[in-house]
């Protein structure tokens, strides 16, 4: 059922209607009669955010490469369009076929951020699919699934999702679809399929696990049923360089957040920053060769027509052959009027050679993330960056004519004192002083240092998973310290946010299954788009917690002991808990751990890959 006739009368009544009608170049149309299974890839946020997400483009390409499968895109409608959809009884539809999502075989959500969870419930409801998994009956379709980084602790969504994909999806999604087609054609029910799918490595079916609790509210045990594995192991792509990257994107008509071609240059991170969840979830560190990267980028530009190319990774400057890669990319981008942008650069290996290459790239200012203001604090979080290195990098940037630098920091880190907070501004001031001491500084231009200070959220699968988050009062105090510290510093701008969203993020990140009731109740009370400050209603969330008899502090502000059973302990990302404990103990002593290329810290991932991540027999470069 194509909904075009129903959609069209609503479009001129809403903001940016191009978001709701599809038809963009690169969007893949197929003949429905030739299709064995349809996958609605749902991004639980607005079009302009979701369309910027590389993971969606990757899986869209992977699934659509198979002629018998059709993957389409779905985004959360903005509130103006949602109101009209509900008024006109227009169900949630996919952008390629304009057909209702409820008629698809799979409805798959990508979980990039905890504060999108209520949008998932809202999208299911708009689709006319029961929000609770147990209400979906025995008919096999649609299967509601979810993957992405937040799936590492799937428990707060356990009541809503039929199956989670743990780890990298490039192979896993297709294996699950293949099994689905086989079983559906043989007449299998939903529960039969879910039981069978749970045997595929990387599939987690929460309804096949019983969770019991201790009197103090912590998890006692997670017990599998019906042959489901006791521990669900994540999937890893073995040969990353050969793993096909999408050589075409859907190119949107309307402007989106990241409107450019993107090439993934490496996956995983070798740094081991103790606060960074992605740095542990995406191990091991794997690179694409400069040849693969250049060939792919060229193809992507040719197929999308984009005028800008960006490199994507957790730390691009850690690529072992970055200068070679940059030379290759610059050769064709300069010839073809393509702008090249490089996010995720580090300050400790930012060479003049790289800067010279970057100067040929039009840039709107440099951004670095020292993360903490004092060396002690940076050692605690294992951000192996020294002040000298930051200064050197800023000097290179200033020499190249830059006059503004943006610095990212966190507050609320373990062991943090008021001194560390004041250290943020002191550090920024030393960058300012250095600028004015330079002889070759850009003449007549004042320097501007912008410091953005986020509230730290302890996350599962990091050495800080044991740590309580700072309370609202502690954060308020530290923000006051910051405010006083920055007063009178004319060349420094500091910005921070109210901590409520970070508190909710911590709760949802480290929560258990009982939070399903809270999320459901918050959504029923009207919470959606929690990540957007204009929609965020912390008061309604607190009501939802109260109704469920739960409190925020239990999840966010409670120190967790090393022997506590965590809600996510039955999910395995190959990072040993013993390693996390070791790292946490070193953090308390402000001791750093070398990055993986220098020496192996023994996180546990080699047990699975079967070989060291780097060749330690040769002399390593830093």
């Amino acid at each position: 059922m194509n909904l075009f006739e129903k959609i069209e009368p609503l479009l001129l009544r809403v903001q940016k209607p191009a978001r709701y009608i599809g038809g963009e170049p690169g969007s893949i149309m197929k003949d429905k009669s030739q299709i064995k299974a349809r996958f609605a890839f749902c991004f639980p946020d607005r079009y302009d955010v979701g369309m910027s997400h590389l993971g969606m483009k990757v899986l869209y390409a992977v699934i659509n490469k198979r002629p018998e499968y059709w993957c389409e895109r779905v985004f959360a409608p903005d509130t103006d369009f949602e109101a009209l959809m509900r008024e006109q009884k227009l169900p949630l539809y996919a952008l390629e076929s304009l057909e209702p999502v409820r008629d698809f075989d799979f409805i798959g959500f990508t979980l990039q951020y905890e504060l999108c969870y209520t949008n998932i419930l809202n999208m299911l409801d708009l689709a006319g699919v029961p929000v609770m998994q147990r209400d979906r009956g025995e008919s096999i379709a649609p299967i509601v699934c979810a993957g992405g980084s937040c799936a590492c602790n799937p428990e707060p969504l356990a009541d809503f999702i039929d199956m989670f994909f743990i780890g990298e999806g490039e192979e896993l999604d297709l294996e699950v679809m293949d099994l689905y087609v086989k079983m559906r054609d043989a007449g299998a029910t939903r529960s039969e399929f879910l039981k069978a799918a749970a045997q595929i490595q990387g599939v987690y079916v929460p309804s096949l696990y019983d969770v019991s609790y201790n009197e103090d509210g912590t998890v006692k045990a997670v017990t599998p049923r019906d042959g489901a594995p006791a521990v669900v192991k994540k999937r890893i792509i073995e040969n990353f360089d050969a793993c096909p990257a999408p050589d075409s994107f859907v190119v949107p008509f309307s402007e989106i957040v990241h409107d450019r071609a993107v090439t993934e240059v490496l996956r995983g991170c070798l740094r081991g920053c103790r606060f960074c969840q992605a740095g542990f979830l995406y191990r091991p560190f794997r690179e694409k060769t400069p040849e693969t990267i250049c060939e792919h980028s060229k193809k992507l530009i040719d197929n999308t027509g984009y005028e800008e190319l960006s490199l994507c990774s957790l730390s691009t400057s850690d690529h072992s052959r970055i200068e070679e890669m940059m030379d290759g990319l610059l050769t064709f981008t300069e010839n073809e009027h393509i702008n090249l942008s490089l996010p995720s650069l580090r300050v400790d290996n930012f060479s003049t050679g790289l800067m010279n290459r970057l100067r040929r790239v039009r840039s709107s200012g440099l951004t670095f993330a020292p993360e903490a203001g004092t060396q002690r604090m940076r050692d605690v979080i294992n951000k192996n960056v020294t002040e000298e290195e930051l200064m050197r990098t800023c000097r290179i940037a200033f020499n190249a004519g830059q006059t503004s630098v943006k610095l990212y920091f966190m507050m609320g880190l373990p062991t943090e004192t008021d001194e560390d907070i004041r250290g943020i501004i002191e550090l920024a001031q030393r960058v300012v002083d250095m600028y004015y001491e330079m002889n070759q500084r850009p003449k007549g231009k004042p320097v501007q240092i912008s410091c953005s200070i986020a509230t730290f959220v302890p996350k599962p699968f990091t050495p800080f998973e044991f740590h309580p988050q700072d309370t609202r009062e502690m954060i308020a105090h530290k923000q006051k310290v910051l405010e006083e510290a920055v007063a009178g510093h004319k060349r420094i701008r500091a910005s921070w946010h109210f901590p409520d969203t970070s508190i909710l993020e911590a709760v949802l990140a480290k929560g258990d299954r009982r939070l399903c009731a809270v999320i459901y109740s918050a959504w029923k009370r009207g919470c959606i788009f929690d990540a957007w400050s204009e929609h965020f209603r912390y008061d309604l969330w607190l009501e939802a917690f109260a109704e469920a008899g739960l409190n925020v502090e239990f999840y966010a502000n409670r120190p967790r002991s090393y022997d506590e059973v965590f809600p996510w302990d039955h999910i395995d990302y190959y990072v040993d808990k013993a390693f996390l404990i070791r790292e946490n103990e070193k953090a308390k002593q402000a001791q750093t751990t070398k990055h993986c290329r220098l020496s192996c810290a023994g996180c546990g991932v080699t047990k699975v890959t079967g070989h060291p991540c780097f060749d330690y027999t040769q002399t390593s470069e830093s």
């Binding site: 479009l11 001129l12 170049p25 008509f253 309307s254 027509g305 984009y306 005028e307 009027h337």
Partner: protein, 225 residues
């Protein structure tokens, strides 16, 4: 360097591409198509593309116009073929030719506007209401301009070429002033009707408006392209 004036159509899903987005969409299409478009010179070179007359969001058209220059020896017919292969099916080039008229020659545009009946309103009733509305000596509307708003007598501006009663609606063919200096959208007239209707004919209900640009014309009534 070969200057080219192309006409293209904008239908169905492509109707909702805004004018600004259309520019970006076409620039990217040139790159995908491998058509060597001429880049402006200077510090920030960009593909040179010119749309002499913007089309309102949601309007269909079979006669949109775009100027560009081919920087090389590709025949313009091949450029059109290549572009059509990489453009969405609802956004396709119809013709290419060397530009003849100047942009400033544009004086009028013709539109077909269909007003649907809603809530069981008979087409005859909507037609009678329209006839009464248009019989007014003046139809004053607020028009947004670069310097704020101005009051315009939209009746004086619009030439109504045809009025037709359809099965469930009415169809108007309008000639409106168009061009770089004056530009009057037929939506001004139909919006005024939508405001007038409940106050004067409360039982007559209007549904969706469908608008299509039929032609871009010069002062003497000949087509711009």
């Amino acid at each position: 360097m070969v200057p080219v004036r192309a006409t293209f159509e904008k239908r169905r899903r492509a109707k909702y591409i805004s004018h600004l987005d259309l520019m970006r969409c076409m620039q990217r299409a040139f790159r995908r198509a491998g058509v060597p478009i001429w880049f402006t010179e200077g510090f920030n070179p960009h593909a040179y593309l010119m749309f002499p007359l913007a089309l309102s969001l949601g309007y269909e058209s079979g006669c949109e116009c775009m100027d560009f220059r081919i920087d090389g020896d590709m025949p313009m017919e091949e450029a059109m073929e290549r572009l059509n292969r990489v453009l969405p099916p609802d956004l396709q080039l119809k013709s290419v030719a060397a530009p003849v008229r100047k942009h400033t020659d544009i004086a009028f545009a013709d539109y077909a506007v269909v007003l649907d009946c809603a809530d069981g309103t008979p087409a005859e009733a909507l037609r009678r209401a329209w006839d009464a509305f248009i019989a007014q000596p003046q139809i004053l509307v607020e028009k947004k301009t670069k310097r704020g708003t101005a009051e315009v007598d939209v009746k004086e501006k619009a030439q109504i070429m045809e009025t037709e009663t359809l099965e469930s609606g009415i169809r108007l063919q309008l000639r409106m002033p168009a061009g770089t200096s004056v530009n009057v959208n037929p939506g001004l007239l139909t919006d005024a009707f939508a405001v007038w209707l409940p106050a004067h004919e409360p039982d007559v209900r209007m549904g969706m408006m469908h608008a299509e640009r039929l032609a871009i014309l010069c002062e003497d009534g000949t087509p711009f392209v």
